[in-house]
């Protein structure tokens, strides 16, 4: 069963930039896929379309059996609750500690506080930051902050994880750690899509690789 499917998707921004040109792609449940390509290839746009952060200019995008190009805006939050998002521009909240940053993903779904705390601790454990739960994110390194984002993306047990350049701005050890975390979740059935321009890192894993260039799948 496919977790998502894109059919002939085009995306043209208001400034005239054609980010995607007729992209068709399908990812099965439990699959791990790497999106690679140079800057401006359309990797981020592709992920944002799947996460319903953008709407395509044309084409069809089906996520977990739902045509998300047709769902009303008010249904989008419920779709996002089933997705784990690790985006380049996502923010941590510096007015609360690491644990609370992770809990927010459960709070919006109405989870009980006790259960949310337990699950957030477990997610932080998985990314190796349990002992930093009460720290302020500002006190963490860039790599650790990125891992907090990963924990936040995974704490709600999504069926699909979308990560946009999760290893950018982190050292190699942290990059490997983040990708290993993704693999661990993938091993228990979570479909993982990672956009990365770091070909050497991508090559270490035997997962499917889709290469984009100028908005077109070239490989």
């Amino acid at each position: 069963m496919s977790v998502f499917r894109l059919e002939n998707v085009h995306k043209r921004y208001g400034n005239g930039v054609q980010a995607l040109r007729g992209v068709s792609l399908s990812v099965e449940s439990g699959e791990m896929l790497f999106l690679t390509g140079p800057s401006g290839a359309g990797k981020t746009t592709l992920l944002r379309l799947i996460a319903a952060l953008e709407r395509p200019t044309s084409g069809r995008i089906e996520v977990q059996g739902q045509d998300i190009t047709r769902i009303p805006r008010r249904a989008v939050p419920y779709l996002r609750r089933n997705l784990g998002l690790v985006l380049q521009d996502q923010r941590l909240l510096f007015d609360r500690n690491v644990l609370e940053n992770v809990i927010i993903a459960l709070a919006v779904t109405g989870s009980r506080r006790g259960e949310a705390v337990e699950r957030a601790h477990a997610a932080l454990e998985k990314v190796g930051l349990r002992e930093r739960a009460t720290s302020n994110p500002m006190a963490l390194s860039a790599g650790e902050q990125q891992r907090v984002c990963v924990a936040r993306a995974l704490v709600a047990r999504p069926s699909l994880l979308l990560a946009d350049e999760p290893t950018a701005n982190v050292d190699e050890a942290n990059a490997v750690r983040i990708l290993e975390t993704f693999r661990a979740f993938n091993a228990v059935g979570v479909a993982v899509i990672v956009a990365s321009h770091d070909a050497s890192l991508v090559g270490r894993y035997g997962s499917r690789v889709v290469r984009l260039d100028a908005g077109v799948i070239v490989e």
């Binding site: 319903a52 709407r55 998300i68 989008v76 939050p77 996502q90 909240l93 989870s111």
Partner: protein
Amino acid sequence: MRAWFAHHVACLSATLRGMVRAPFSSMINALVIGLAATLPLIGLVAIENGRALAGGVALDPTLGVFFALDAGKQEIDAVESVLRNTSGVRSVQFIARSEALERLRKIEGLGDTLGTLRSNPLPDTLVARLEASAIAPEGQLAAQVRAMPKVAHVQLDAAWMLRLRRLLELGGAALTLLSALLGAVFVGVTFNTVRAQIHGQADELAVARLVGATDRYLRRPFCHFGSWLGLLGGLIALGLTWAVLAYLDQPIADLAQAYGSSFRLVYPTLGQTGIVVGVSGLLGLLGAFMAVSIYLLINPSPA
């Protein structure tokens, strides 16, 4: 339902904690709102007191019908019948000319003077007491009676009552306008306060949206904050109004006593107090709801 309730409890707790953490700014905001609400509230209380004063000293408007000296029982009965069959006429009293003269004689100093008269110059009279609420039609009634046979003069003693009533009505209308304007100010102040708070939490809103927060979820804490701000403002307005009344109570009582009245200021009732606090909370809620809704409209959730 459980999650909805739990979130409301969490929002309530967070709002109160926030107010306790920043008592100065919370109180300043509530004070501004309270001051905005105080003026119409004092106006309302003043109108209520005006009504009470009018009610306390007001005699019912009366219609005096004076007959020609040669008027007979038939003409008098005809007028009395018209008066008694008119709605809004509380009572009709006939004062015979002989009785009127007798009453005059009892007034000290007049007896001797009246004794010099060769005949009774006073007319038969009908005195109709009208209901205060039925002032409008009495003008027509006076005209109708005036046109009847053997009616020499009709005197309507309601002009001052009408003026007072019109003044109170005008005051009420002005108060309604003032309340509407200051209600808008109330909403505006809450709107602005909540808007500033939203901008301070823009990152939190963005992250919450990213992980699946609905607009309703995002709106809730701000609506709680606005409601509480409104409630506090309402309580402050009530407190100030109470203080003003307490300050003026004795001087006004003294003044009333000097005029032979036992009038005392009327304080807002429990029901009015509840309405003021409730409306304040609702206006605060409205201001907050508008602030968040406009923010969410201007910054729509991606896609």
